[in-house]
Amino acid sequence: MSSITDYERMPDVAEAERRGLAQEMQRLWETGPGVRGWLSTVDHKEIGLRYIVTAFAFLIAGGVEALIFRLQLAGPNEHLLTPEQYDQLFTVHGMTMIFLYAGPVLSGFSNYLWPLLLGARDMALPRLNALSYWIYLCAGVFLYAAFAIGFGPNDGWFNYVPLAARAFNGGPNIDFYALGMILLGISTTVGAINFIVTFLRMRAPGMTINRVPILIWGTLTASAANVFAIPAVSLAFFLLWMDRNLGTHFFDTAAGGQALLWQHLFWMFGHPWVYAIVLPAMGMVSDGLPVFCRRPLVGAPAVALATVATMVLGFGVWVHHMFATGLPTISLSFFSAASIIIALPSAVGVFAWLATIWTGRPVFTTAFLFFASFILLFTIGGVSGFMTGSLPVDWQLTDTYFVVAHIHYVLIGINVFPVAGAIYFWFPKFTGRMLDERLGRWNFWLMFAGFNIGFFPMHIAGLLGMPRRIYTYADGMGWDWVNLTITAGSFVFAFGVLLLIANVVRSVKAGRFAGANPWDAPTLEWATSSPPPPYNFVVIPTVGGAHPLWEDRLGTEGETSHTRAGLVLDHGREAIGTTPVDAEPNVILKMPGDSLSPLCLALAATALFVGLLLLAWWLVALSLLGIGASILVWLWPRARLGETAGGAHV
């Protein structure tokens, strides 16, 4: 009988400047050299940056697709694209922006920032983090491979049956989409689980639940939603794949199946997903905007609660995507009311951000401009959402360009603008260099003007009766000038995005040096060097309030934060595990080192989906073996990770 005390230790406390400590940490945490190191790294900062870069590659691809079909729609009766090409372009555009850009870019920021904000050395499950990225990359390549060989999805991003059924869509387009989305869902799910466990276990000692930055609440809420919502869409796509390839009858109305079952499963996922791709971005604004107002966020606890409330309500509104499907009035009334109630938590956020600017001393940096303009764009998107949440208005506007305007104000306004602001805000932390502010002004104003010129007239096009998803339109419908304006504006917007990328490329090498805390910001990521070392913090910070680096001017809540001295944890890669609510240390966690298992597992999983696509059962069997082997190696109990009885390794 062993005793727990055989496996215990009192961790050392030291000053961060202790001689040799930083070198020792570097040796323990540094990723190995060469290609192998690159493929096996589990450093959350590396993974986060890969996420952001990959998501931006998809943003550019999706943007170019949009520009091509906006040229087609610039005037009546254009012949740049065939109807089939148009269908693929607008579908792939939607798929790219919603699934391959908007979600992953926020995962990228969160992956990079979470451990730094929390005062931790890494995410709770570093290898799962790597797996999440590799599968995302593989799923993106899988979905784009279809497009590259001419079989991109072509039924709109929400892929309604019966048009998506084999009888009406005979090519492999929808099979690619279905399987690619299931694969991507695995990435999102394991990423979400990692965020939740990290929130519960990895917060620095003293970071009680009321001291957590709002970005953490945004990503946490989104992750919790994903855990419950992703299975709905993965299942829907799996059942569709079965219907198309193995002759089942889930959605086949002629055989007694239910076409509407697709819409229910899709939107049970789809609506929470909309919040999942905006709440973390709102969190970035909630943490970034106050820095440029030189004061803490007004009503921070209310904003955190509003974030959670939005998501809880967000699970009860999916039928507002289905108002025109002939469901019973009682159901429509309920979902209409629930949709409109979401205005309440949204307003809490809007007024908190406005009050922060109003009562602060704003510094008009590029980041501030992006964050502040988000409030306006969110409000416009919110109002059009409120309008379409109302039944009679929705019946008038559904499937018109008005809805296209709404979704773009919501997704570009609440995702792209905060992300651009977040790049200006955190780029110094990522690279140690500042972005160019002069180029930044051009960048912002071009994006802001281009966006509003390009997307506001879509409301008008919709009110004039222009349906969405038409590949061309006749002369004399009264839609000519509005479409020309939309196309012109979208090119200006695209040029603005190009300037953002140009600024990043230029500043990586030539930007002004940033230092650890160039914005004089209050949270823990600014307590370490820019860019941070592989181990993030030489000693574990102790947190005494919500603004650890502003305690000298704000005063404290009776406790003081410490960043220059703390727990050392240097017996191998170690981190401190704390209790979920009070963040009291309760375990020393042994963290895994570099590993190739995540990459192997991602490749085997991708091979499985290729096998299902080709109906090549030998490949399916082979990949299942590969998956099993990768997981077995991954989970094999290791003495070094404190998982086996032999060798206490404390």
């Binding site: 009988m1 496996y7 009192m10 299975p231 102790t542 001295a565 375990v587 989970l635 998982e643 009885a645």
Partner: protein, 205 residues
Amino acid sequence: MSDAAIRPHAELPVGAIGSRASGWWAMIFTIFTEGSLFAYLLFSYYYIAAQPHLPGTFPQGGVPSLALALPNTIVLLISSGFVAWAQTGVERNDKKRLALGLLIGCLLGIVFLIVQYFEWAGKSFPLASSPYSSLYFVVTGFHMAHVVVGVLVLAALWFWSRRGYFNNVRFAHVHIGAIYWHFVDAVWIAVFFTFYITPLLGLGA
């Protein structure tokens, strides 16, 4: 700087310790997402079951027989009992009991799969014949896939136990694998109730 604010009040355990292991938490949320998957599967069943059907088409071939399904349900529940027995065994450092409980749990899981094979083989309709057949084979198929994973998990845990990897402190792997197995068994109750009991109560008739 005061050391007292920084230093923990007592010594801290190191490494994977029961529910303090990150993997334990990860498994809890994996179960939430897997549970949601089954909730959506059963939602699909009830959504289609609640629509009007011609007599005898839902469930196809009449109310399914309990002759194999009920004993098989009991087999699965007993296997959970043995795995729980193994868990309390390792907590008392009884390594023989740990290995034996895991082995019996694993074997009973295999028995469940064999009986399910006969249950499938005894159906008069193939997968592609109707919405009911699609639902029946896909939902029970999803569950069987989970049982297969669970059996492999128990087999790996048994192998690791035999190699002496676990004792009364280091048993996080055992508990993480075991809660997955309990989940697979619990979700079967929902599947069993849906497919075998609700038709008896008149749903879909």
